[in-house]
């Protein structure tokens, strides 16, 4: 363990340097001034308080999804379905908020919406979990399939039962009444409720994984399913639990997108934050500790790249490229050092 940490800082520095170099090369290839692109990425994300508040609004759902994924990764489940779980959560929350009105206080409806969102995400994840435990369907395929289904359901709702009066359009459902929107700080587009939820999720995830029997059981099953079964743990039951938790957190993220960001259900409600969160967790080495920082970095890239097309006439997908390159480089370096280490071990054996 110690050796791993000893090697980490220079490795991380080397990797960052390599990724920056690649980014520069890419921007040159795209015909844009390379350092200009980097400068705009930085200024566009942390250049002002307003911009940083945008970053935080991306950070919130990313951190929430990443928390959920920590549970599934802990037991070696690849919950690719997190994307669909965000969508299912958004649908659940929208269903509740559409009912709102009458005499009840709006705060109660919003709280209900979060519960419904968490339940929707958990339900969607449990579908994949049941397919896995009862039908022996790999969770990657089950999740991927359900992502498409969730997307289709959303489109059907937007163009069918929940369409705007008069015109159904890609712009989504009718916006909710402003008193159902998550409140923001004066002058800044930042929701304290969202921040509290995300920070709370991070802390409780860390605590559950580290302190509770559930955390220990997930870790044990992830490391050795057979031995865990022999020691009395039920892998099927914990698979469902981990999936439901992951889906619940994703559903809360979906609710935040609905109640805090778009104030309605739109076709691209998840903004791909589920997939992005997978990258965040991988880059965190599947540990809770680095998640906040890495999610923040990814959020910065996302927000910072928004203005690239306008200012430099290069596509905003540059941020996606940088994120992807980072993760690939990390996984490569990780596999490479592991192989080198095992080669050293083998060498001692002979």
């Amino acid at each position: 363990m110690n050796r791993l940490f000893k090697g980490a800082p220079p490795r991380a520095a080397l990797m960052t340097l390599a990724v920056l170099l690649l980014t520069v090369l890419l921007t040159v290839a795209a015909g844009a001034p390379p350092f200009g692109a980097l400068r705009h990425l930085i200024l566009g994300s942390v250049g002002s308080w307003i911009k940083f508040s945008h970053v935080l609004m991306v950070w919130i759902p990313l951190a929430l999804c990443a928390c959920g994924l920590l549970f599934t990764f802990r037991m070696d489940l690849w919950n690719i379905g997190v994307e669909g779980q965000v969508v299912a959560g958004a649908v659940g929350a929208t269903a509740v908020l559409r009912l709102a009105g009458g005499g009840s206080p709006p705060g109660l409806w919003v709280a209900l919406a979060f519960l419904a969102g968490a339940a929707g995400g958990a339900f969607w994840a449990s579908l994949a979990g049941v397919l896995k435990t009862k039908g022996n369907v790999n969770e990657i395929f089950a999740g991927l399939g359900l992502n498409f289904v969730a997307q289709a359901v959303t489109l059907w709702l937007i163009f069918g039962p929940w369409k705007r009066p008069g015109i159904a359009s890609m712009s989504g459902t009718e916006p909710f009444e402003p008193d159902l929107w998550l409140p923001t700080l004066p002058g800044l587009r930042i929701s304290p409720v969202g921040l509290v939820l995300a920070v709370g999720a991070l802390v409780s995830t860390w605590w559950i994984l580290r302190r509770t029997r559930l955390g220990l059981a997930l870790k044990a099953i992830g490391r050795n399913r057979t031995a865990s079964f022999l020691h009395g743990l039920s892998p099927a039951r914990y698979t469902l639990a981990a999936m439901a938790l992951a889906g619940g957190f994703a559903g809360i993220a979906g609710t935040f997108q609905v109640a805090g960001v778009y104030h309605r259900l739109i076709p691209a409600i998840s903004s791909n934050y589920g997939y992005l969160a997978l990258l965040v967790v991988m880059l965190s080495g599947f540990k809770a500790g680095p998640v906040p920082a890495i999610a923040l970095f990814f959020a910065c890239l996302n927000v910072g790249s928004i203005q690239l097309p306008m200012v430099l006439r290069i596509d905003s997908s540059l941020s996606g490229v940088i994120q992807g390159v980072f993760v690939l480089a990390f996984l490569f370096v990780q596999a490479w050092t592991r192989r080198k280490k095992s080669a050293v071990k083998e060498g001692h054996g002979h």
């Binding site: 302190r211 509770t212 490391r223 057979t226 031995a227 020691h231």
Partner: protein, 494 residues
């Protein structure tokens, strides 16, 4: 093709799997390599087929020394091996399997090769549906296909590793006829087996290995007594009968059949008692492993009934068995028994009370207690993969409930040094004297005779001999293990 092996050594750490083996294989003969599990047969054949390289020693083909770089090199030199589990591609068709590795050209030549496959199959009386997936074939048919494939590759030496385990008697006859006719045409056949019967029925010459060394060589006709003595060594004095002090019936298996392993399990009826130690003998994959797992509720029986303390448990799973005091300890300690990456404390915590929070202090105390009681060389914070094999076994025992009512152990002392093994047995016999029923498999007959009060010998999925250890001898057990129960045991059975 003549093959000579000179002073072959293969060492795995301190273990000498082959310890200076010298032998010659003549052209056009069927040569048997006999020996019990761990005698070094498979290692020697893996060296000859290029699968592993020897630590030292020389292989000569037609008088010229060769050093194989890998199995395909050996095949190109004319040496092919049929592995115990045929190395084929179950999801591909018969023809596709046959074609694998056959042509170096771009075109597969499907028509040409399907004709040649059918022709050679007919010669030996084999029958195939070329387009059936190999997964639908029996083990015997897969062997036949593999033999034809190896022959098509032009091999002159065919090595077969335990080819008669798991195939029907009809297939065995076909196989033996094919091997004899191949030998007549000049192919050298090497038959690796622990089955005396097979070697006596088929071979022209037999070499016996024991503990990595050649203990004897004989031409047919063979003397079974001599071969058995070479295989198992000279018999130690028979064990003295312990007081039979069995208590109540703890577990009863009635006419249980199950699948798994190579031979499965066929019609086993056994009852196990309080306080008794039962050894399960047999060559690996003869059914004793399946028996243990069925008795633990880990694999469901296909038919038959199973009860614990009078309660029917036939369709229950391992966790239900655990609640009734059954504990199963697997031999693959890091693969099945322990969880790599978790510490000793974490293992105790998993066993601990089912509460929301992990009671870490309690778990650490339990770990420290287990460490000192079972003399484990480690600390509560040591990850289990950092422990030695002996200490991992000690940990598994420490993790056991204090008074297991039925303890099922898979090769409990495999890989342990002598002192650790003796220590493990001290603990187990102490448990038995307190009333636990202990059932274990072992590949060492000596271990069974020394510690068990009763022994069940498995052969091809059946119990072929059930006797008290004091009523039998190592030779009688060895003969039963090799599948011959008719001749030697009759006189001594009680």
């Amino acid at each position: 093709m003549k093959i000579a092996l000179r002073e072959i050594h293969k060492h795995y750490g301190a273990l000498r799997a082959n310890d200076g083996i010298t032998m010659d294989i003549r052209e056009g003969t069927v040569h048997g390599i006999l020996g019990e599990n761990g005698a070094g047969k498979s290692t020697l054949m893996k060296i000859l087929s290029g699968y592993v390289s020897s630590t030292s020693g020389e292989t000569l083909i037609n008088g010229k020394p060769v050093r194989f770089t890998g199995p395909s090199h050996a095949t190109s030199m004319g040496i092919g091996m049929l592995y115990q589990d045929p190395l084929d591609f179950p999801s591909m068709t018969v023809l596709e399997n046959y074609l694998t590795g056959l042509t170096g050209k771009i075109s597969l030549g499907r028509e040409h090769h399907s004709r040649s496959l059918l022709d050679s199959a007919k010669k030996f009386g084999f029958a195939f549906d070329l387009h059936a997936p190999v997964s639908a074939l029996t083990v015997g048919e897969r062997q036949q296909l593999e033999i034809l494939r190896l022959l098509a590759l032009g091999i002159e030496v065919l090595i077969l590793d335990e080819p008669t385990t798991g195939i029907s008697s009809g297939q065995k006859k076909l196989l033996f006829d094919a091997l004899k006719s191949l030998a007549r045409q000049g192919t050298s056949i090497l038959l690796v087996s622990h089955k005396l019967e097979d070697v006596m029925a088929l071979c022209d010459r037999a070499t016996v290995l024991r503990l990595g060394k050649v203990t004897g060589e004989l031409d047919s006709p063979f003397d079974a007594e001599v071969l058995l003595k070479w295989m198992f060594g000279s018999a130690p004095p028979p064990p003295s009968c312990r007081q039979s002090r069995y208590g109540r019936e703890r577990a009863v298996l009635k006419d249980v059949s199950a699948s798994g392993g190579r031979a499965g399990l066929e019609g086993c009826s056994v009852s196990l008692h309080e306080g008794e130690i039962v050894g399960l003998a047999g060559l690996e994959g003869s059914g004793q492993g399946v028996f243990l797992r069925v008795a633990a509720g880990l694999s469901p029986p296909r038919s038959g009934r199973l009860s614990l303390d009078g309660q029917d448990m036939t369709r229950q799973d391992y966790h239900a068995f655990q609640k009734r005091g059954v504990t199963f300890l697997p031999t693959a300690r890091l693969e099945e028994g322990l969880i790599p990456g978790l510490t000793i404390t974490e293992h105790f915590a998993i066993q601990g009370p089912k509460s929301l929070m992990v009671p870490w202090t309690l778990a650490r105390d339990a770990a420290a207690g287990g460490i000192s009681r079972y003399r484990i060389a480690g600390t509560p914070g040591s990850p289990v993969d950092a422990l030695s094999g002996g200490n991992q076994q000690r940990l598994l025992l420490a993790l056991m409930p204090a008074d297991p009512r039925l303890l099922l152990l898979e090769q409990p002392t495999r890989g342990l040094d002598l002192e650790s093994a003796r220590w493990v047995w001290e603990q187990l016999t102490a448990l038995a004297s307190l009333g636990s029923c202990i059932v274990f498999t072992s590949s060492e007959l000596e271990e069974i005779v020394e510690y068990a009060e009763r022994v069940l010998v498995f052969f091809d999925g059946r119990i072929v001999l059930e006797t008290r250890t004091c009523d039998t001898s190592l030779e009688a057990l060895g003969t039963a293990v090799a599948g011959r129960t008719d001749t030697l045991t009759g006189g001594r059975a009680a």
